[in-house]
C-alpha cells in the first residue's frame, strides 16, 4: 500500500513536470498520510535537515566553486589549446580534442553539465566551421560530457561515499581507469566517423605543444593537488576542496589575471545556486529514502531480485539495466540516494565490492545523461548549438553504445576499477 502510493504519486508528479526534488518530497507526504502510517510529518523537514548537515557533503559546494572560478578564469580555452596540440593531428582531430578537454575539465569540475557547457561553448562552434554537422558536434560534446562525473573530483561520488560509507578518496581514484576507457571508446567512434565522412585533421607542432602545456600546467596541477593531498593524508576530501578553491582563486586572479575581484560576486552566486539545487534533491530524496527504509522496502526489493536468480552475472546485468533506465528519468544524486540501500545488500550477497558498485552506478547514471527524455548533457549542448534535441539524440546513439560497452567491461572485470585503489592502499 505504502509503496504503491509512494511510487504512484512520484510518477504522476514527475510526469506533471513538477521538479524532481519537490516530487520526491510530496510523494513522501502523500504516502505517510494516505498510507495511514503513524509517523509524525515533522520527520520530513527533519530528515531534510539532517541529511545535508554533513561535513563530507561540504566538498560539493567547494568543488563547484573551484570549478566555476577556474572556468571564469579562462581555463577551458587553455585546456582545449593543450588538447589541440596533443591530439589534434589524429583523424577526427577536433572531436578527439573535445573528448580530451572534457576529460581535463572533468578533473577540475565535478559535474557533467558544467563540463558540456565549458567545452561546448568553444568546441561546438569550431567543429561547425570544419564541416562537422551541428547535431553531430553537439552529440559529441554531450557524450564527452559524461566524463565530468567519472573523472575525479565528482559530485555523485561524494554523494555515494556519504550514503554508503565507502571512502570518497577511494572512489576518486577508482574513477580514473574507467574514465580513460570511456575516452578511448569515444575516440574510436570519432575516428571511425571521421574516416567515413572524411573530416579534416589538424596540424600540430612540438613547440606549440610545449607552450600550451606550460600554459595549462597550473590548471592541470589542481587535481594532482587534490588527489595528492587526500592520499598523502594531508586533507579530507572537504578540506581538499576548500584548498582547491583557494588555489583556483590564486591562479586565476594573480597568475592568469582573467578575473577581477568583482567577478567573484557572480561566481559565488552561480555556484551557490547550483549547490542549492543539488542539496534540495539530496534533502528530499533522503526523506523519501528514509520512509522506504522505515517500511523495509529496500529489503523486500533486494530479496525479490535475489529470488529471481542468484547468478551474479545475471544480477549484475539486472543492476545495470535498472540503473540505465532510472538514469533516463531521474537525477543522478536522487538515484544514488534511492537505489544504494537496495543495491548494497544485493552486492554483499553476491560478493561484489561496494566501491565497484559505486563506480558502476556513477558511470551508468552519467550515461543516463545522454539518453532522452532526461538527458541533461543533450539539453545543455542543444542550448549552445541550437540543434534540436531529436537530431542530437539520433547522433548520440553510437557514443551511447560505446559507453555501454565500457560499463559492461568494468562490471564483469571489476579489477579494472579496483586496480588504482588497491595500488595506493598498499
Amino acid at each position: 500500500m505504502t509503496i504503491t502510493l509512494l511510487l504512484g504519486s512520484l510518477v504522476i508528479l514527475l510526469l506533471l513536470n513538477i521538479p524532481i526534488a519537490v516530487s520526491l518530497g510530496l510523494a513522501t507526504f502523500i504516502a505517510i498520510v494516505g498510507g495511514g502510517l503513524s509517523i509524525p510529518l515533522e520527520v520530513i523537514p527533519q530528515r531534510m535537515f539532517t541529511s545535508i548537515d554533513s561535513f563530507p557533503f561540504m566538498a560539493i559546494p567547494f568543488f563547484m566553486l573551484a570549478g566555476s572560478i577556474m572556468q571564469s578564469g579562462g581555463i577551458s580555452k587553455r585546456l582545449i589549446n593543450f588538447a589541440k596540440n596533443l591530439v589534434g593531428a589524429l583523424p577526427g582531430g577536433l572531436g578527439i580534442i573535445a573528448v580530451f578537454s572534457s576529460g581535463f575539465f572533468g578533473a577540475i569540475s565535478g559535474s557533467n553539465a558544467a563540463t558540456v557547457s565549458a567545452i561546448g561553448k568553444i568546441m561546438i562552434p569550431s567543429m561547425e566551421k570544419e564541416k562537422y554537422g551541428k547535431a553531430y558536434a553537439s552529440a559529441l560534446v554531450a557524450a564527452s560530457g559524461t566524463l565530468g562525473v567519472v573523472v575525479p573530483p565528482s559530485v555523485p561520488m561524494i554523494t555515494y561515499g556519504v550514503i554508503s560509507g565507502v571512502s570518497i578518496s577511494a572512489l576518486f581514484l577508482a574513477g580514473i581507469i574507467p574514465a580513460v576507457l570511456m575516452m578511448i571508446a569515444l575516440c574510436l567512434i570519432i575516428m571511425f566517423i571521421a574516416k567515413r565522412d572524411n573530416l579534416p585533421r589538424g596540424r600540430v607542432s612540438f613547440v606549440e605543444l610545449i607552450k600550451s602545456f606550460a600554459d595549462a600546467i597550473l590548471s592541470l596541477l589542481m587535481p594532482v593537488i587534490i588527489l595528492g593531498g587526500i592520499y598523502g593524508g594531508f586533507f579530507t576530501p572537504t578540506e581538499a576542496a576548500a584548498v582547491a578553491c583557494v588555489y583556483a582563486l590564486i591562479i586565476t586572479i594573480f597568475v592568469y589575471r582573467e578575473i577581477k575581484v568583482k567577478d567573484l560576486y557572480e561566481i559565488v552566486l552561480g555556484s551557490g545556486q547550483t549547490t542549492a539545487i543539488v542539496f534540495f534533491v539530496i534533502a528530499t530524496s533522503s526523506a523519501f529514502s528514509w520512509l522506504l527504509t522505515a517500511e523495509r522496502i529496500p529489503e523486500t526489493i533486494s530479496n525479490a531480485i535475489l529470488s529471481i536468480s542468484d547468478n551474479p552475472i545475471l544480477i549484475l546485468l539486472l543492476i545495470n539495466l535498472l540503473l540505465l533506465v532510472l538514469g533516463v528519468f531521474l537525477e543522478t544524486n536522487a538515484i544514488i540516494l534511492l537505489v544504494t540501500p537496495v543495491l548494497l545488500p544485493i552486492a554483499a550477497q553476491i560478493g561484489f565490492d561496494p566501491l565497484v558498485l559505486g563506480i558502476i552506478m556513477i558511470v551508468n547514471t552519467s550515461i543516463g545523461m545522454i539518453t532522452p527524455p532526461m538527458a541533461l548533457n543533450i539539453f545543455v549542448a542543444s542550448g549552445i548549438s541550437h540543434a534540436s534535441i531529436e537530431d542530437i539524440s539520433k547522433k548520440v546513439v553510437p557514443f551511447f553504445i560505446a559507453l555501454v560497452a565500457v560499463v559492461i567491461l568494468i562490471t564483469y572485470v571489476p579489477d579494472i576499477i579496483l586496480f588504482l585503489p588497491n595500488l595506493f592502499a598498499k
Binding site: 508528479l13 514527475l14 510526469l15 506533471l16 513536470n17 513538477i18 521538479p19 524532481i20 526534488a21 519537490v22 516530487s23 518530497g25 510530496l26 507526504f29 510529518l41 515533522e42 520530513i44 523537514p45 527533519q46 531534510m48 535537515f49 545535508i52 548537515d53 554533513s54 561535513f55 557533503f57 561540504m58 559546494p61 567547494f62 566553486l65 594531508f234 586533507f235 572537504t238 578540506e239 576548500a242 584548498v243 578553491c245 583557494v246 560576486y265 559565488v268 552566486l269 555556484s271 551557490g272 545556486q273 549547490t275 542549492a276 539545487i277 542539496f279 534540495f280 534533491v281 534533502a283 528519468f329 537525477e331 532522452p372 527524455p373 532526461m374 541533461l376
Partner: protein
C-alpha cells in the same frame, strides 16, 4: 509588492554572498592551522556546516525563479498551448502546496525547539536557528511558485487579447 519581492530577491543573494565565503574561510583556516600544527579550530566544522544549510535552503527559491530545478517536461510538451498553460498553473500550485507543508511542519519543529531548547555541541547556539533556514527556504518556495502562477494567469489574459 514588486519592491518587496525585489528586496526578498536580494536577501537570498546576500545570504549566499555571506555564507559561502565564510564557509570557505572557516574550513580553509581550520585546514591550514591543523596541517601546520597551529592547533585545531574546534568550532569551524560546526559553524561551516550550519552556514552550508543556510546557503542550501536560501538558494532553493532562486532556483525556482530561474526555473533551474530539474523536471521532466516531455509529457507536458505534448499538449496544446492552452492545456500547457493550465498545467503550468497546476504545477505552480502543487509546488506552492509543497512549500506550505514544509513551512508548516518546520514551524512546528521550531516551536518544539524553542520550548525545549537544544544547543549545538560546539558553538552552543540554539539548533532552531539552523532550522529557521528550512522555514526561510520553504516560504520562498511558496512566494516563487505563486509568482509563477501569477505570471501564467497574466500571460493567458495577454494571449486572449492577442487573439482578438
Amino acid at each position: 509588492m514588486k519592491l518587496l519581492l525585489a528586496k526578498i530577491n536580494n536577501i537570498e543573494n546576500y545570504i549566499l554572498l555571506i555564507t559561502f565565503p565564510l564557509m570557505l574561510l572557516f574550513v580553509f583556516s581550520a585546514t591550514v592551522s591543523r596541517t601546520f600544527d597551529l592547533g585545531s579550530i574546534m568550532w569551524a566544522e560546526e559553524a561551516s556546516r550550519y552556514l552550508m544549510i543556510w546557503l542550501a535552503f536560501a538558494g532553493i527559491g532562486l532556483g525556482f525563479k530561474k526555473n533551474a530545478h530539474l523536471g521532466l517536461s516531455f509529457v507536458v510538451n505534448k499538449f496544446s498551448q492552452k492545456v500547457q498553460r493550465i498545467l503550468y498553473f497546476v504545477r505552480a500550485i502543487i509546488i506552492a502546496l509543497f512549500g506550505v507543508l514544509i513551512s508548516y511542519y518546520t514551524y512546528s519543529l521550531i516551536m518544539t525547539q524553542i520550548y525545549n531548547p537544544q544547543l549545538s555541541p560546539s558553538l552552543g547556539i540554539p539548533i532552531w536557528w539552523v532550522y529557521l533556514a528550512i522555514l526561510f527556504g520553504s516560504v520562498l518556495i511558496i512566494i516563487r511558485s505563486l509568482q509563477m502562477s501569477w505570471a501564467s494567469i497574466k500571460n493567458e489574459i495577454y494571449a486572449e487579447d492577442a487573439e482578438l
